[in-house]
């Protein structure tokens, strides 16, 4: 416990911005996990007067359907984090594994898979996501699926490049020489060496996934309309910004803070894993 505390302090001293980010992310995670206990009302309960300004009873006011905005922002943390985490873990893991395996074996299969990645990366992400949502239909799971499809190609490309260089290293040659099968080499020697890059990809992409989810909801093609998505709340808020600016402000601040926290943590992790960026001007 004391070791943990001291290593946290060390991280805070070396990466002050990263520590701030970690604190924001910790609050976000706590909010998401304890949403049912923290939120005074249900996210879909439309039982109050619409467009009430912030007051002690409703600190964030109520929205156009008379729902408590504070509760919706709190439940929104859970939705955003769920979508961000699941789609990123799903997309980056599968895309990354795909890239490592095809890169390791090389040949026609690798070539074909790289062409598929080319195609997916040639389409503008928002347009691909919009088309996927139109094709799949609006539901939470489809948002996750569309985001995973969006994220997988980048992960495949990054980890494939890494696998190509690991494949040539002496320890892989040695493992092959003592008779390890290709699959054993991949699982025991190649994959563990891609772990650092994999973790950086995860942290960087969670923020991106949360923003894309909110963008889709803002455009009306993300989560179903009654779900407490920050993007959908922003859309409703933008329509009523003259009459009820709080409807726009609070979800906007929530998503900005979340993305800021995640970016700060991602930055710190990247700085720590990239030895070239350490130290002073020399």
């Amino acid at each position: 416990m004391r070791a943990l505390a001291s290593s946290l302090r060390c991280f805070g001293a070396r990466q002050p911005l990263g520590a701030v980010g970690a604190a924001i992310v910790a609050v976000l995670v706590a909010t998401a996990v304890f949403a049912p206990a923290l939120a005074p009302h249900g996210p879909k309960e439309a039982v109050f007067t619409p467009y009430l300004a912030p007051s002690p009873e409703f600190p964030f006011g109520t929205d156009h359907l008379g729902r408590d905005q504070l509760s919706r922002v709190i439940w929104g943390a859970r939705l955003s984090l769920y979508v961000g985490l699941v789609s990123v873990v799903f997309g980056v893991t599968l895309g990354g594994l795909w890239g490592v395996v095809t890169g390791y074996f090389g040949g026609a299969g690798d070539n074909a898979s790289q062409r598929i990645v080319d195609v997916l990366m040639a389409l503008p992400p928002i347009i691909l996501a919009l088309s996927l949502m139109a094709a799949l239909g609006q539901s939470m799971n489809n948002v996750v699926l569309a985001l995973a499809i969006l994220l997988a190609p980048t992960a495949a490309r990054t980890l494939r490049a890494l696998a190509l260089s690991i494949k040539e290293s002496p320890f892989v040659e040695a493992a092959r020489a003592v008779g390890c099968s290709h699959w054993r080499v991949i699982v025991l020697h190649v994959l563990p060496n891609t772990l650092a890059a994999y973790i950086v990809l995860l942290t960087v992409n969670i923020a991106y996934a949360i923003v894309v989810e909110a963008s889709l909801s803002f455009l009306g093609l993300g989560a179903p309309p009654d779900e407490p998505s920050w993007g959908a709340m922003l859309n409703a808020g933008a329509q009523a910004i003259e009459a009820a600016p709080w409807m726009f402000l609070f979800p906007g601040l929530a998503i900005s803070l979340t993305v800021l926290g995640l970016n700060l943590v991602g930055d710190a992790i990247r700085d720590l894993t990239d030895p070239r960026l350490r130290g002073g001007l020399g």
């Binding site: 195609v119 040639a122 389409l123 347009i127 139109a134 970016n263």
Partner: protein, 321 residues
């Protein structure tokens, strides 16, 4: 060697473009509810035998009753002959819509990139030269906040402030650049600023990290040792050599940007390609979506190719193999 590389890239260009357009083609056709149903059932009435007949008639007229692959081949053949088809919703040639919308989005994209670069590169340089000072922290906070404030938040806020405090109203009618440049820029500067604020963040960060790397190189030390002024060291020796990846990145973003303008175009009611495309996807206006995605992918891939080739020209150490 170099010749081979260019050839290989050109050979990959066409299949990638075709693949991208085929993918969108198929995606749109698995969407539940096609244009025929939307046109006939728009009144929201119960489906009757007559309506079903109408749906089938429209499908036959538009060729939607054929197998998807055949439809794609038909579309491709016409497109190669220069006929991009008719928009189902607007009932006019897609080529006409493109000609109207594409220049607006291109202009917005160029304006955005220029604004972003002018602001982001000096920010990245200052941040690197004064690493870990308060200037660095401030510059990094600025750029990371640009990355963290989603465009649909900042965009609406900017619009709201403009309307509230400056009595500025989003234009009812878009004024083309060639008709009135000043009026046109007045309309596009705000969406461009909102978008530039967002994309300047990664450019500033990349400039910073590249500068940090280059500034530790031996030739920079040599430049300092021979007594060059700090300005000359930073701008002539360090910055020039750190800009290469930045150029690649900006080129990549530039290609990507055309599709990324959707949200900002909608917020600021710029009748560009992004907003038209989002609308066409929602209305299942296949020919319009098809043509626009094709053009976007074409521009993206061409820019990528140009950036790759320019890279070898800018940095002779890079060999193509």
């Amino acid at each position: 060697m170099r010749h081979d590389y260019v050839m290989r890239r050109l050979l990959l260009f066409v299949p990638t473009l075709l693949g991208a357009s085929l993918l969108i083609f198929i995606l749109l056709r698995v969407v539940p509810g096609d244009i025929a149903e939307i046109l006939v059932y728009q009144t929201g009435s119960e489906s009757s035998a007559i309506q079903q007949k109408q749906v089938q008639q429209i499908r036959a007229e538009l060729g939607l009753d054929k197998p998807v692959v055949l439809q794609y081949v038909d579309w491709m053949r016409d497109a190669l002959a220069g006929d991009l088809g008719q928009s189902y919703v607007q009932r006019r040639p897609v080529a006409e819509i493109l000609k109207e919308r594409l220049p607006r989005s291109l202009e917005l994209a160029v304006l955005t990139i220029v604004l972003a670069v002018v602001w982001a590169i000096p920010l990245g340089v200052v941040s690197a030269v004064r690493q870990n000072s308060w200037v660095d922290y401030l510059a990094r906070m600025l750029s990371i906040s640009g990355l963290s404030l989603p465009i649909f938040f900042t965009g609406v806020l900017i619009l709201y402030c403009l309307v509230r405090f400056f009595r500025w109203l989003p234009p009812l009618e878009f004024v083309e650049f060639w008709r009135d440049p000043a009026e046109n820029l007045k309309q596009l500067i705000w969406p461009a600023l909102a978008q530039a604020w967002y994309i300047s963040a990664p450019i500033a960060r990349l400039t910073r990290s590249q500068m940090l790397e280059v500034i530790r190189q031996d030739y920079v030390r040599t430049a300092r040792a021979k007594g060059l002024a700090e300005r000359a060291v930073v701008y002539r020796h360090a910055l020039r050599n750190s800009l290469l990846p930045v150029v690649t990145f900006v080129g990549w973003w530039g290609g990507r940007l055309l599709g990324g303008l959707v949200i900002v175009e909608i917020i600021f009611s710029v009748p560009g390609m992004g907003s038209a495309l989002a609308q066409a996807v929602a209305q299942r206006d296949y020919p319009t979506v098809q043509a626009m995605v094709f053009v976007m992918a074409l521009i993206f891939l061409s820019l990528n190719l140009l950036v790759d080739l320019a890279y070898g020209w800018l940095d002779p150490r890079i060999g193509y193999s």
